[in-house]
């Protein structure tokens, strides 16, 4: 702690200047009845070297995905973040700044976020983007409450939104927490057995405030039916689409098929998985939602000399001005991670994004071919196009299969019984730009051996 406190040893001098004699004088306003007695029951202070050594010991005891062969995704995706992103984002001027309340000395971050808004806007095909929410789930939840604010007056089914029945329970739980205060009902959109959306069920949602679907969906399926949704639900029901942003190098931008709000986990662009945070949530929308949307927005303006300058704008939606009438309580967001996203996007360029999407999609395609050839393993949604991941149905429980693969140094995927309890044998397997052909072959070989052993014992 000595290296963090420049005034250690100067206390007496500073106190004397104030006419005080002891540190205790500074706390005379704290009544004795609430005073803590004795030392905090915590370990002694450590030096930087000791902390780093202990961090390496503890974090080194974890199994990093890169130490193994990993096929785990289910919403977060192993990627490669270019070295320059880390080098630049840790520049102290970015890293150690607060929210840009004084625009004259915050032009760098403000401009970078205005550029981020443009990059996201272009990516998803909608005119407006904010500068991040906490993650994909909170972005989705805020999109639902935003849709109700905008559409409730004209909705025939008021205070109601529909979400895909495939939505992972943890994401759905966040939606419930954000929606319950406004007494919003969450109903479900059904899917066919092949994993695609049941458009009949979507027509039932016309007249509600909004529908939420994911493309690719939580099973990795790219659903062609989504292009028809806006025609089915009409202008008074919001079409909210969650995306894996890298997929948009190949897959149509939601703005092109009528999405009103696009959200998503920004992580694959710019951020390592990092245990699930800090990452960033994407939020983009049409102009009709602008004044009722959550989160901070940067606008381009001028200074007193008429020079281009940037500043936060539309703040009257926000909690520090509007207090309990704000569109959201969000204050701190994920700006620095969004900055990493902007840097990654800037480096990729349009063709780089396309290449990255191709790498992700072909890894998934090759795996589909190889795993599809295994006797005793079924791909229940094989007739669809997939991005990053797909379901395999095993001749035994996913739990057993994952435990077996773990002994071989393979993180085999995500046990879907955690989302859909009746699907004990469904495994969600994930392939990204970091997956090699060799890893896919190794995976297929081990899965084949395990599956055939199940065949014999069955």
């Amino acid at each position: 702690m000595v290296d963090q406190l420049p005034n250690l040893g100067r206390e007496a001098e500073m106190l004397a200047a104030m006419g005080m004699s002891s540190i205790e004088d500074l706390f005379e306003d704290i009544p004795a009845e609430v005073r803590m007695t004795g030392d905090l029951p915590l370990p002694p202070p450590q030096s930087e070297e000791e902390i780093l050594a202990d961090a390496r010991r503890l974090l080194g005891a974890n199994v990093a995905m890169g130490e193994r062969v990993s096929f785990l995704g289910a919403g977060l995706y192993r990627n490669y973040v270019p070295a320059s992103v880390f080098q630049l984002v840790t520049r102290g001027e970015f890293l150690t700044a607060y929210t840009p309340y004084q625009p004259e000395v915050s032009q760098g971050m403000l401009q970078a976020m205005w550029e981020f808004q443009t990059l996201i806007s272009e990516l998803v095909g909608l005119p407006v983007a904010n500068l991040s929410l906490y993650d994909g789930s909170t972005a989705a939840a805020e999109a639902l409450t935003c849709a109700v604010r905008v559409h409730n007056r004209k909705a025939t089914e008021k205070d109601t939104v529909y979400v895909s029945e495939l939505t992972p329970p943890d994401r759905l739980s966040v939606m419930h927490n954000y929606c319950q205060g406004a007494e919003i009902n969450i109903k479900f959109l059904r899917h066919h057995a092949d994993g695609t959306l049941d458009l009949e069920s979507v027509s039932e949602a016309a007249g509600s405030c909004g529908i939420y679907i994911e493309q690719p969906n939580p099973l990795g399926i790219l659903d062609g039916g989504i292009s028809q949704l806006k025609d089915i639900i009409g202008e008074h029901t919001a079409l909210i689409v969650a995306v894996q942003p890298v997929s948009l190098g190949l897959v149509e931008a939601p703005g092109q098929y009528g999405a009103d709000i696009v959200v998503g986990e920004g992580q694959p662009l710019g951020s390592p998985v990092t245990g699930g945070g800090p990452i960033y949530g994407i939020f983009a929308c049409t102009k009709a939602y602008l004044r009722l949307m959550p989160g901070r927005i940067v606008g381009r303006s001028i200074d007193v000399d008429g020079k281009v300058a940037y500043c936060l704008t539309l703040s009257t939606r926000e909690q520090h001005i509007r207090r309990h009438r704000a569109t959201s309580n969000i204050c701190t967001n994920e700006t620095l991670i969004a900055l990493m996203g902007a840097m990654h996007m800037a480096l990729l360029g349009p063709e780089g994004l396309h290449t990255l999407a191709v790498r992700n999609m072909t890894a998934c395609l090759l795996a589909k071919q190889k795993l599809g050839e295994i006797e005793n393993i079924v791909l229940p949604h094989a007739n669809n196009h997939h991005f990053n991941e797909f379901v395999i149905e095993l001749p035994g429980s996913s739990e057993e299969c994952l435990a077996h693969l773990d002994t071989l140094g393979i993180i085999g995927g995500f046990d879907l019984s955690a989302w859909y309890p009746e699907r004990k044998n469904w495994l969600l397997v994930t392939f990204t730009d970091q997956t090699s052909e060799k890893q896919i072959e190794l995976f297929a070989a081990h899965l084949a051996v395990w599956a055939s052993s199940r065949l014999v014992t069955a």
Partner: protein
């Protein structure tokens, strides 16, 4: 080039990638799925990209650039080893769905952080899941809401906040569906117990308050306030934005609170990154513990094979509270931020009290130094304390109301004048209860010399004439930015010429 979209180099510039495992032609997406036009992103080579962002960074002010006395935000130094630690693959390359036996080290750190925050706050159980202070507020109020629902006390529809509260308090409670009752502060900026008594009744669910309050003053009547709220069956919520002032000295538990959030990015130095990420764990007393978002980390002695992977002979596992409100973030919160803050807390360990003592020492010293410098410069009639108090805690308020009345110089003018002196300006116009308010928080990581120099510069700015100050700043990358123009002429993205 002045902005990103002016770069349009050769196709595929910037960042070369390995070949895909199959040719692109093997992907045959139908018309309904295939993207027709790629995003109109710029094309930059790596040197151009590096220079663009470096240029922008030089147009941004951080703690590393200079003194950052932004009240309520606790802009303390961010130790760099924390950034090194956050890049270790054992956190950077961890998936939240990995099984417990893959993440024993991570869970051990989570458990240690839960414990540390519990003992510092006097709470019984902490969750690390909320990712920002405002989300912590929302989460805690949700827990109280479910607690009352389970008890059948659904008539509790109101949340009380003082008028000096952070805007997130009423916003978070309103998001949960509560009605907000705002109570006025006393003339001296402190809580008005009579006003509280007048509104506290059987419809009260929660009172949200921060202590030290937003004027940097300790609410000595806090135990009485807690008793008033508890007597009507309500719950007390502690906004931890100002926790930096009291570690090891007092605690929300001792003051009678039932729930608290922590702004780890303030108290424990997660870099604020120009607006985030943060981390907003909450702690609660035992009667609320089973309502927390899950999972929480618990420890026990290892069984069988577990001992080979156990950390210091302990096994760490997830625990799902029985009446959990569910999740507020899909994963395990901002794990990377929690790791940085763990590294920060380890630097102090049981000496965290010294950190708070120095935060309070620096704030009081600076308050004294500013008044002294103003007096010596003969401008002490232009500035006064935002609230009368012998001692402040980790921050203090000034009122520029006299300068406003005498010369038409506003708190914002002084703020802009300070930018010209090479400082980040203090928080202005908050809390709303102080006219022409300036809220100053130096933090414990500033030297006496920096505080002395700032005080002299502050007094110099007070001596500048109104006309010059209205025109400030003049030395910054841009001069005063027209926020009204920005709102009236919305330009939220780059528009291409062909549009």
């Amino acid at each position: 080039m002045s902005h990103l979209f002016e770069h349009n180099g050769a196709v595929g510039q910037g960042y070369s990638q390995p070949a895909p495992v199959l040719p692109a032609s093997s992907i045959a997406l139908p018309e309904t799925l295939a993207r027709k036009n790629l995003p109109r992103w710029p094309r930059l080579s790596e040197p151009e990209m590096v220079r663009h962002y470096t240029w922008m960074s030089k147009r941004n002010f951080g703690i590393d650039t200079g003194f950052y006395p932004l009240g309520s935000c606790t802009m303390k130094h961010n130790p760099r080893v924390n950034e090194v630690i956050a890049q270790i693959p054992g956190i950077a390359d961890i998936h939240p769905h990995q099984p417990e036996h893959h993440i024993q080290g991570l869970l051990a750190i989570f458990h240690e952080m839960q414990y540390m925050l519990e003992v510092c706050s006097g709470m019984d159980q902490v969750t690390l899941q909320p990712v920002a202070g405002a989300q912590g507020e929302f989460t805690a109020v949700r827990c109280v809401q479910e607690y009352f629902r389970l008890r059948g006390e659904t008539q509790r529809t109101k949340v009380i906040v003082p008028d000096s509260a952070h805007g997130t308090n009423p916003a978070s409670a309103a998001m949960c569906g509560f009605e907000i009752v705002e109570i006025p502060s006393r003339e001296d900026g402190r809580i008005d117990l009579d006003a509280l008594r007048a509104v506290a009744d059987e419809t009260t669910a929660v009172m949200m308050i921060t202590n030290p309050n937003t004027l940097g003053l300790f609410e000595a009547d806090i135990v009485e306030a807690s008793a008033i709220v508890h007597d009507v069956g309500g719950q007390m919520y502690y906004d931890g934005a100002n926790f930096n002032a009291i570690l090891g000295i007092t605690s929300p538990g001792l003051m009678g609170f039932d729930a608290v959030h922590f702004n780890l990015h303030k108290t424990f130095s997660q870099p604020h990154g120009g607006g985030g990420p943060g981390s907003g764990p909450i702690g609660v007393k035992s009667h609320l513990a089973e309502f927390l978002p899950g999972p929480l980390v618990k420890k026990r002695p290892p069984v069988g094979d577990e001992s080979q992977m156990a950390i210091d002979d302990m096994w760490y596992g997830w625990y799902q509270p029985t009446h959990s409100i569910g999740k507020v973030q899909q994963w395990h919160g901002n794990a990377g931020a929690v790791i940085r803050c763990w590294a920060y807390y380890r630097r102090y360990g049981r000496g965290l009290r010294t950190m708070s003592e120095h935060a309070v020492l620096n704030a009081n010293y600076l308050r004294h130094a500013i008044h002294k410098a103003a007096k010596e410069a003969g401008v002490d009639t232009l500035v006064k304390d935002g609230a009368e108090a012998k001692v402040a805690k980790h921050e203090f308020t000034l009122s520029l109301q006299p300068a406003k009345e005498k010369y038409g110089i506003s708190a914002m003018d002084i703020a802009k004048g300070l930018l010209d002196k090479g400082y980040m300006a203090p928080t202005v116009y908050f809390p709303l209860v102080v006219p022409e308010c300036m809220m100053v928080e130096p933090t414990e990581t500033e030297s006496k010399d920096t505080l002395d120099t700032f005080a002299i510069h502050f007094a110099e700015v007070l001596q500048v004439d109104a006309e010059t100050l209205h025109a400030a700043p003049i030395t910054t990358p841009v001069r005063r930015v027209d926020e009204v123009y920005a709102a009236r002429n919305l330009c939220l993205r780059h528009e291409y010429d062909d549009e």
